[in-house]
Symmetry: C2
Subunit: 344 residues, 2 copies
């Protein structure tokens, strides 16, 4: 029973050390029956539509040694967040035709054996691909990281690194909606222009053109930074610490500049935490998923009313997925990077 | 009016770079009239009894460049916390004979022009010198840092560095009183013995004898650290980050290992903040001084009942003050370092 169809997959060759390359992954041609196997109760078989490329996935390419997240399995398809359509289900909560998002495989069809962590997509009057971005993990990361970890107050100054990325562009817009002054850093003129002209940041700069990040930050924040939304780590964090205000807050969301280094860079200015009574706090969005409906309720209307905008960088076809993922680490993408596997 | 007496002073020669030396300070012989000058309203003249040697004073030996605290003035006496007796007063809140503690000069007598920040000593049934330590700034640092910043819960695991120092020895005892498991690090066998046998730490180790701090911490905390009371910074912090538990807390109290370095060491493992959702928070005791009475109310009875003990390293005579201060940075002192200028 169940039609047998082609199921191309993107498979990890082996654990990665240093900067990942396209050749660390390969395309594998397999087939799959479009039916949940008889021995799989509480499972769903999904057709993958959109796959999300996220920086944290680099950590899953390394061999896990007590990491916070499991490694990919060499010889098996990459996994990550995606938007998918249920083709068959033996799970009481899911029906054929349901649209869902959650951790799926980098392949055309995936059998999901524990779909309980998947979110059902109820609102389809926005681009479906948004559930890999502003309405998915990155959006929730921006929302809970900014509102819960940073505790913003009107009139405060906010700095966002990797500001045109999947998370940063939203944080900046939340900051503006909260009455804050917000500056972003990014890695090209095009991205800086987007920050200023599309996302409404008060200002923005290209970190690659700044010989001294401390000097750059002093230019944009002569009175200091209240809130730093940390996406990059390393030298930028060191410069930010020198420019934080007393009782500033740093949300440690990610440190993309460090993920491909065998030894992360040293951060030297941590004594600023003491002298300026700074709270630096790490967070993972998983911890907040029970409040996902609240997030959706807040953000969805803002998207529909045009009060929040979102830019995606869409790669066409599963074959383009390895290059899309790796492009994150050289900053090749403009906005949220995702891959279309199928449009419906 | 007012008897003119000898007033020896310890004067800073010049700003210090790198490791401080005794010769960075010198003894100066001056005289002083034992009366507040007629043009000084709201002032007190005090006889200094005990002077406190504290690690933060190293930062005041450097030229201030927007530091959290003002530098010492080359050519003028060192200043710092001390216990003193009021000899004359033109301030309505202070009377001759009052015992006080606050920021005084490293000299026999000091004219204090704004004594409003001084605390009056009401309880003299404990050693007066305790007001430089367990009942003064270090005690309040331990109290507010541990209870307010670390939010300890019964059964949690606590690690304290520089654990036999002025602050660390109290933090460890607070941790035990809170039902925590506590381990301390220190720099000699004698200090480690004190931690275990005198202060009741569950365990302790000599960091100088550990080739790998990460391995050492894993030995004492096989399930990880909930709370780290940070007094040293640098390599120890890096090792601690690897051993923190999920949702652990780090109170950044001080980083004594870094104060004499022209460039602080790099800390490499900060991404652990994200993956383990750690809150790392700096604090300064000044911010909590409005709650000093509450602290005193809690700690004073515990001292009298013998539930908290305190060890002091007492240098005799103002002449011994430079060596006492500098000894902090090589760990020469055992317990709270202070200097007796006069016994009454």
């Amino acid at each position: 029973m169940g039609e047998e169809v082609s199921n191309k997959q993107i498979v990890l060759k082996d654990y990665v050390i240093g900067f990942p390359k396209e050749s660390d992954m390969f395309l594998k041609k397999t087939t799959i029956k479009l039916k949940v196997p008889e021995d799989s109760t509480n499972s769903i078989l999904v057709k993958n539509l959109y796959l999300s490329c996220d920086p944290y996935m680099r950590n899953r390419m390394s061999k896990s040694e007590g990491s916070y997240i499991d490694s990919f399995t060499p010889g098996s398809p990459i996994t990550g967040n995606g938007v998918a359509k249920v083709v068959d289900s033996t799970h009481p909560n899911f029906n054929k035709g349901d649209l869902v998002w959650g951790r799926t495989g980098w392949e055309e069809y995936s059998l999901i054996k524990s779909p309980e962590t998947f979110f059902k997509i109820q609102h389809t009057d926005v681009p479906l691909s948004y559930y890999t971005g502003i309405l998915g993990m990155p959006g929730a990361t921006a929302y809970f990281g900014f509102y819960e970890v940073c505790s913003p107050k009107k009139g405060e100054t906010v700095f966002v690194s990797a500001a045109s990325g999947a998370v940063g562009q939203i944080v900046g817009q939340f900051a503006k909606l909260s009455g804050c002054y917000v500056v972003g850093s990014a890695g090209s003129k095009e991205k800086v222009d987007l920050l200023k002209n599309k996302f409404g940041f008060d200002d923005a700069f290209n970190y690659k053109e700044e010989p001294d990040l401390n000097v750059a930050l002093k230019r944009y924040f002569p009175d200091g930074i209240d809130i730093y939304f940390e996406n990059v780590g390393g030298k930028m964090l060191d410069a930010v610490l020198l420019n934080m205000k007393i009782r500033g807050r740093i949300a440690a969301c990610g440190m993309i500049s460090q993920y491909n280094l065998e030894q992360p860079e040293g951060v030297h200015n941590l004594f600023c935490l003491t002298t300026k009574r700074i709270r630096m706090e790490g967070f993972l969005v998983f911890d907040y998923y029970h409040n996902y409906p609240k997030f959706l309720e807040t953000v969805l209307p803002k998207i529909k009313e045009g009060k929040i905008t979102y830019i995606e960088d869409i790669a066409e076809g599963l074959e383009s997925a390895p290059a899309a993922l790796i492009g994150l680490f050289s900053g090749r993408n403009i906005g949220k990077q995702l891959v279309v596997v199928a449009h419906e």
